[in-house]
Symmetry: C2
Subunit: 175 residues, 2 copies
Amino acid sequence: MQLSAFCGVSVDGFLARPDDGLDFLAVGEEAPHGFPEFLATVDVVVMGRRTFDVVRRLGHLPVYGGKPLVVLTRRPLAPPAAPGEPVETTAAEPPEIQRQLAARGLQHAYVDGGITIQRFLAAGCLDRMFITRVPVLIGAGVPLFGPLPGDIRLRHVATRSLGAGMVQSEYEILH
Amino acid sequence: MQLSAFCGVSVDGFLARPDDGLDFLAVGEEAPHGFPEFLATVDVVVMGRRTFDVVRRLGHLPVYGGKPLVVLTRRPLAPPAAPGEPVETTAAEPPEIQRQLAARGLQHAYVDGGITIQRFLAAGCLDRMFITRVPVLIGAGVPLFGPLPGDIRLRHVATRSLGAGMVQSEYEILH
């Protein structure tokens, strides 16, 4: 199975402000950035707990169109997922999560959240990244990237200039 | 006068490894990245002490073609600049450096080095950035960006894909 990240960051590499605020990304909200097309290729969403709590608080869970959503956490959700809500939790490590999803016949996971993306990258469990850089520097926040056990080589697939000064680059992660 | 940065970074935003190593940038050394054309528009180079020491140790000072070179440091250079060597030092703050260079009739400064770029950015003394992203994640090192007193909005001028998977973006810094 394939695991991909798709995210917007400031030019200095932050996914969110220190207080989880996403206002600085809004500069280009009207400009098409290919997210619906990307999401259409995804059959499961894997998300860190912090990102899940923000997305849920903002009422944005419907964005994922009812696809199964796996939240990485050791604590129960509050409120717990309602019956029928496609949310499950796991405390497994990335390779185990990847195995479990593949065993369910899932093909393409969307991995979201700073710590979660970093964990999957460091574990060699991420295949592709779509990074959209929004033209602002914010100086502090939740970083997209973090420490790694060693270099990770990327293959640049494509870069395109979107509206509102946004630049989207697609990279394949070489294992 | 105009102040510009022109630098290569890993996709996770590092100018150099923790030990100042630049090997990871070499992936695209053969691909043209516009540095000679940029340098031709520059009439003074402003550089942090750490960068200066690395560049000098590598024997790369001739790259700057004899343009005046201002090193930001509080300590004397070792060895001191030879008579006729176009190297001077300053311990002034970015706005004062900018005033002094303008008073000498200089038009375009090339600002280099992580801490130095960060100081000029934070002081509102940088006008333009050329950032070339090399397709590798290194996880740690000398970061291009650092803390800021507030958001800095950028205007995206252009992005081009260079050879070897490198992507160069040009931003104007909005004051």
